[in-house]
Symmetry: C2
Subunit: 428 residues, 2 copies
């Protein structure tokens, strides 16, 4: 099909059999593109857990593209004309992943006629009858979309957080299809601490009486916003570092009691004892963010996507991460952030070591930051230069640093002590 | 009054005016004692957030003292005959704090006749009409209890976690009453990250439909166990280090699906999509622990005690921590653990610096451990020796180490790099 610059649409891709074996008759994928396709300039961007296909602002789409809320233009500092992923040079594609809620098929999508449940024949949404989704399905859906768009080989696949897992899956599943991969603030798999917090977050949603086993769609059924807000708050703490929270909020009071707020938007009962204590800025911030989030995101999608993230294991089906990546013939830039305790520098180093083990050109670029996991979004000034130069010259790129095979990065620390070596495995 | 060895009881201490200004007509305090009082051998032990007065096992109390569940004999490795706090030498007193639920007055206590609420005249428990409680009230209640027991001056006050805040409050409020203080795994105040997680945990309780604004007492009203379990799970993750969770659980499956469990004890609706994914050991462990916890603890008490912890600020009423401690004329042993991210080594160092600033003899004993905050309970082999020697000889005690004023401890790290200097500010 003909591709126009700065396109946005929803592709109908036919039946889709998920990795779990279940299928849906029609997979729809919402996507956006930026720049002009010239045959070998495609950069696929993979969004994070609650992101959308709307990577960057475009003048022609600003007017009506408001469905994504905070997920709008989520990497606008990185993607655009003259930016690190330069849309005057690259043709950028981003697709909303299956299981999400920004236009691609997921639990909130309409269920095709004839697939109603026996016990609820008039119900028109999938709910939790939607097949379980895995990161592998995201990569497969992206491949299907790109085929649909007439794109074969990719210059690069780039993404952060669980989007970085999505990137790694590309190198594993389609090793011949892509030259360069850039997993940012990612890991080959989650550790036990993150698995635990994600499980608690899902419990918060499922414990909300409005969740109703996932069957909350319909006019007379309120969304499980209270549970979703709590889940998001747990996630939010995971995205920030201890030091950045302390610096940003400290113990300051928000200047009003918690009673007035809790009686409001989040709909919780108040208690007299609570009114004695200050409503702190950190709580106010998390409440404000979570309220906005529960307006823009679907609770079932949150369950689905966190389960996909938890389940992902790069080594699955192979003996090791290195074996899983062995067929990849391109180059990799692994980026990590010193105060990220969701996806640690140590985990990124382990991914880099897996590439190195198979003699795949790789640079592990560690960024000194106390912003935590959030750094991949809020520090474009540090993410941009190595990303730009890697897209141009691979690991030999000028701003690409590599901590090297001997690096023993500090995990989970607020005080950066790691001094990245400004060199690459190859040349400068 | 006459004190017998290994005593346990509930003292009725008359009207108690809380720091907030509200009062109750009769404060009851549940306490236990161990050893024999000889006039100057009293060690007050302060329990942590969900602990009880039952510090150690005693033969005569084992038969019936089962009310405390997991809070039973919580420091039995440290307190007892021949142990670090040697009950053949010391007279140990531990009291359940106001706001808790192990026999001392709190939200679950019976409300005296005549104080029923106008809108619910037959209601016989305080619920959230119980006055807001602060750490300061804990110290004041302990002082009242000790007066009641005929104890004037104390040899030592020892406690871990928020119990360590309770210890610091003794040095601040009753500087002439105690020779030695030992705050273990404590801080002068919580940081923003912990404040945030505590606030989310309270939200989990308050969002439970069974909570009913705190009015869930009574035969036909179920407890808000689901919310309390979630709150506990958040706390539990805070008590463990990232490295210890990974080592203990990794990503292993518990060998059954989550569906079967979730339909069970925690009473959450199941969803089909969840059944595809493994129920992991880390989740199984947290669920098991949280279920036990919600059987032994009162949800309103959890709200009250976490608020007390969050609100505590050693410097309150003074210009600084050092000013707050300035009148203390004893010696202090501050103990911390390298992988504790709830109360960090850095926070402990700050407390030690405050003592040092006022020329108060202090040792900051840092224990290399990857157990996280939990270490103060699970590593008695490291806590015991310095504690024992400090009780005998103060900071000059043989096993007491001090990282010194120049220490720049690493915060929140799994790989111990800190090498404590085996020396004290004074002599060996």
């Amino acid at each position: 099909m003909a591709v126009t610059p700065a396109d946005a649409g929803v592709a109908s891709l036919g039946e889709f059999v998920f990795e779990c074996g279940q299928s849906i008759p029609e997979l729809t994928v919402a996507y956006e593109t930026y720049g002009e396709f010239d045959g070998d300039n495609v950069v696929l961007v993979c969004h994070a857990l609650t992101g959308s296909q709307n990577v960057a602002r475009t003048p022609e789409r600003d007017a009506d593209a408001n469905q994504a809320g905070q997920a709008r233009a989520w990497w606008d500092d990185i993607v655009g004309p003259g930016k690190a992923i330069d849309t005057t040079e690259h043709y950028v594609v981003c697709a909303n992943v299956p299981g999400s809620c920004y236009g691609t098929s997921g639990p909130a999508s309409e269920r095709p006629a004839g697939l109603d449940r026996a016990d609820e024949p008039d119900h028109d949404r999938w709910g939790t009858a939607f097949p379980p989704v895995q990161v592998e399905d995201w990569a497969r859906a992206q491949r299907r979309l790109l085929d649909h768009l007439g794109v074969g080989r990719l210059r690069a696949v780039v993404g952060g957080s669980v989007g970085g897992m999505n990137v790694l899956e590309w190198a594993k599943r389609y090793p011949d299809d892509v030259d360069l991969i850039v997993p940012v603030a990612a890991a080959a798999r989650l550790d036990a601490q993150c698995l635990a917090l994600d499980a608690i977050a899902r419990r918060a949603i499922r414990a909300d009486p409005n969740w109703r086993g996932g069957e909350y769609y319909g006019e007379d059924r309120p969304n499980p916003d209270t549970g979703l807000a709590m889940a998001r708050q747990i996630g939010h703490v995971m995205y920030l570092s201890k030091a950045s929270m302390e610096r940003k909020f400290g113990r300051r009071s928000a200047g009003r009691d918690s009673l007035s707020r809790d009686e409001g938007d989040l709909g919780l009962d108040a208690d007299a004892a609570a009114a004695f204590f200050p409503y702190r800025e950190v709580e106010s911030y998390l409440d404000y963010q979570a309220e906005g989030f529960s307006e823009r995101f679907d609770a079932n999608s949150y369950l689905y996507l966190t389960r996909a993230m938890d389940e992902y294991d790069l080594a699955a089906g192979y003996g090791s991460d290195a074996d899983a990546l062995a067929a990849f013939e391109g180059e990799a830039l692994v980026m990590s952030f010193t105060a990220d305790w969701h996806f640690t520098v140590e985990q990124a180093a382990s991914v880099a070591a897996a590439f190195r083990d198979r003699d795949i050109p790789v640079a592990h670029h560690v960024i000194d930051s106390d912003h935590g996991h959030d750094a991949f979004l809020v520090e474009p000034e540090h993410v941009g230069p190595p990303l730009r130069d890697f897209l141009a010259d691979g690991v030999a790129g000028r701003a690409v640093e590599d901590e090297g095979a001997d690096g023993s990065p500090r995990e989970d620390t607020a005080e950066p002590t790691h001094a990245p070596v400004h060199s690459s495995l190859f040349n400068r």
